[in-house]
Amino acid sequence: MGASDRLDRIRERASVADRDADEPTVLALVVTAISLLLLSPIAWVLIEASEMPTDRLVELVVSDTTTTVTLNTLVLVAAVTAMSVCIGVPLALLTVQTDLPFKRFWTVTAALPLVVPSYIGAFAFVSAFGPRGELADLLAPLGIESLPTIYGLPGAVLVLTLFTYPYVFLTTRASLISFDGTAVEAARTLNASRWDAFKRVTLPQILPGIAAGALLVALYTLSDFGTPAIMRYDVFTRMIFVEEQARNLDAAAVLSLLLLVMAMAILAVESRIGASRDGAYVSSGDRRAGEIKLGYWKLPAMGFCALIATLCLALPIGILGLWLVRSTAAAPAGFVFEAQHVTNSVTLAAGAAALCVVVALPIAYLSARGDGRLSSLPERVSYVGYAVPGVVIGLSLIYLALRFVPFLYQSLFVLVFAYVVRFLPQAVGTTESSVLQVDPSYIEAARSLGYGPITSFRKVVLPLVAPGIAAGAALVFLTTMKELPATLMLRPIGFETIVTYIWLVRGAAYQGQAAVPALILVGVSGLSMLIILRQEA
C-alpha cells in the first residue's frame, strides 16, 4: 500500500480508535493545560506592553528604525532559511539517496554543526575572516591587503546558515528515509528522468519535511540575538535588547509582540506547506528508492560535503584551538573552569530534555491522531515560545515567578520550564512523526487482547515511538546546552554552566579561557547528535 494511502487510513482509523468517550477529553484537557502554561510567558509581554502610553507606542511602532529593522530581520530570516534549504536538502539527498562514499561519515559531519553555538561560530568567523583576522594575517605576506568584509548581512546570513541548516538536513533526511521509493520508480517507468522524478514526485512529498526544518531555522533566526550582533547586522532582537538594556521594558514587550506577529506569519506559511501532510515526512514507505549513482559527480559531491564540514566544524574548532594555544595569561581566580560547570550544564540539559519529552508526547499524540485543526493547535502553540528571544522569556519568567510562585523563583524548576517553553517544538516534531508511523491497529489489537487504552499505549505505542522520542530529547538536550540568555537570567545564584562561564570570560576578554569549555560543550552535544543519527539507522 502506498505511503500516503497508509497514512490516510491511519489518520482515519486513529481518530476513530481514540474516540472513546473519556480518554480524548482527558488528553485534550491535559494538552490544553500544557498549552496555557507554555503561553504564560506571553502574558507578561501583553501586560508589559499594555502599560506603554499609546502615543509612545505609536511612535515606536511607526518609527523609521522599526521599519528598517523589521525589513532587515525579514531579509535575514528569508535569506538564512533559503540558504539552509539550499545546503540542507542537497546534503540530505547525497547522504540518503546516492552512492556517496563514506556516507555515514558525511551524515555525521553534516548534522554536527548544530552542536556549535552560533555565537561561537560567529566569533570564529570573525576571528578567521574579519579584518586583521587569522586569514588576513595568513594572506598579508602574500600582498593581499584587504578581504571582502564579512560583517553585515552577508556575514550574518553565512554564519546563521552554517550553524542552523542541520535542522533542514535532519528533517529532510527523515522524510527521504521514510519516503516510498516505488513512486519514484513509477515515475521513471513513465519516462521521467531522475531529475524530473525528483521534481515532480519526490519534492512535493518531502516538502512538508523540508518545511518543518525550514520553520525551525526561520524561527531560530528570528529569535537569535548573539549572531547578528557579532556580525553587526541590525535586527529586531537587537532592538529588543537595547530596550531591555535601557530598562524600557514596555517598549521591549511591544517589540516582542511585533516579533511574535512575524513568527505567526512564518508559522502560517509553514502550515500551508505542511497542511497536505500526506507527504512522506510522516509515513513510511515500503521500499527505498534505488541508489543514485554519482559517477563523475562523486568527487565534487564529496568536495561539497567537505567544504561545509570545514566551514562548520574544522574552522570553529580550529579557532578555539588557536585561542587555547595562544592564551598566555593564567586564568584569574574568579575564572576557574570547574567540572561542576559541565555537570551543571549536562544535568540541566538532561532535565529539560526529559521534561520536554514528557510534555511533547501528549501534544504530539493529539496532533497526530486527532482530527481537525483544533487538535493540532497545541502543536502550533508550542512553536511560539521557540520564536521568542531568550531575554524576553527570562524577563517574563522572573516577573511571573516572583508573583505567582515565589518559592520557585531562581530555582532550577523555572529555568527548566524556560527551556521547555523555548525548545519544546523540537521534541514535538520528532515525536509526532514517529507517532504517525505507528499503525493504530496495534492499539486495537492490544485492546482486543484485553488491555485498557493506557496500558495498550504503554505496551505497544511507547516502545515503537521511543526512537523518535530519543531523537527529540537529543535535540532539546543539545540546544539547551547552548542556550545563554535565559540561563543567565534564571539560574539560581552561584549556579554556573558551561555557557555562563564562556559568557563571563568572554565579557572580561579572556578569550583563551573560553576555548576549553567551548570545546567541551561541542563534544558533549556531539554525543547527543550521535543518538539522533543512530535512531535513524
Binding site: 523609521d64 579584518p131 537595547v242 584569574p332 574568579g334 516572583l402 568572554r506 572580561a508
Partner: protein
Amino acid sequence: FGLFSNDNSNQVGVSLSDFRGSGPLVESRGQPGGTSIKDLPPLEGELTVYVGGGEGGLYLDLLKLFEQAYDGFSVNQRVEGSSSLANTIIEENDNNATRADVFMSVDAGSLGAVANAGATQSLPSEALNAVPGSFQDGDGRWVGFAGRARAIPYNTNQLSPSDIPNKVSEFPNSGVLEGTMGWAPTYGAFQSFITAMRLNRSDDAARSWLESMQNHGITEYGNEFAVSNSAADGELAAGFANHYYSLRVRSGRQNAPLDLYFTEGDAGALVNVSGLEILNGTQKGELAGNFVRHVLSSEAQEFFATRAFAYPMIEGVPPVGGLPRIDELNPPDIDLTELADVSGTVELMRDAGVL
C-alpha cells in the same frame, strides 16, 4: 609590607601583592594610601552580591580574595548584564523578595535606576566620606568604587594627539577623523556618554551630533573592547571607548600602537563609575556596609587600579602609569545618578538612526 604589620590590625589571610596586578603598567608602584582592610572590622558571614556587567567578571577575583582573607566570610554571587540585574532587583523589590544584599555594578545608570526605584538602603558614612562627592549619589544611596573614563583610543601610527579636537562636538568637522572612527552604540557606557551629552548640552545637540557622526562615516561594533582592538589593529584610526579597554589591549600586546586621548569638559571626558549599593531587603545591613568599606580599602582600590585599569576612588591610590590622574581630567559637570535616564537616550538614538 611593614606598613600593614602593626599590632592592632586584624589577621588577614592575604597580602597586598595578592590584590595587585602584574605587568609593565603596574611596575614600580609605591605603597597605596587609604584605609587598609587590616584596619577594618573583619567580614563575617555570608553575603549575596549581584554583580552587574560582563567585565564585572573581573570583580569575582576581588570577592575570592575577600573570602581568602576571612575564614568566616563567603560570597554568593550572580554575574549578569547590569541592566538585566537592575531589572531583576527592581522586580524582586516590588515583590518583597530581594535575594541579594549588595548590588555591585559597572554602570552608575543601573545603580541610579535601582536607587530611583527605592530599592536601596543608606550606605555607611565611612564609605561615603572616602569618595569624592561627584562619584557618589547625591543622596548617598550608592557609591562609586572604580572610575571609568570615556576616552578616544587612537592608533599612534595614524594620528597624533594634536590631530584630535578637544571637544567631541568638533569631531564631525575633523577631516582626519572622517570615515575612520568606530563606536559601540548598544553598549551601556556609550549610551551613558550620550546621556551625558544630553545633560551637558541638549537633546537636540546630542541628536544632531549623532547624525553628523554618522554622516561623517563611522563603523559600528558590538562592544568597546572590539573598538579599542580595532584601533590598535589600525582598522580604525580612532574610536569611542572606556579608557581601560585600551589598557587591556596594551597589556596583552605590549607594542600595540594605541594611545588614549581625553577631550575636555564635555561628555567625551565623562568619568562614569562602577559602584555599590546596599539593597533594601537585606537582613545583613551591617555586613553589607562593612563589605562596601572593604571594596573601598586601599588593597581593593589597588586591585581596581592594577587589574581592571580603572580609576581608584580613594585618595592615596593613583591610577596605573600613563593615565592622567583623575583630577587632571576635565569631566562635564553632571550628576551621575541622572545617567539612569537611558530610555530617553535610547529613543533619541533610535530617532537619530543609530540604534
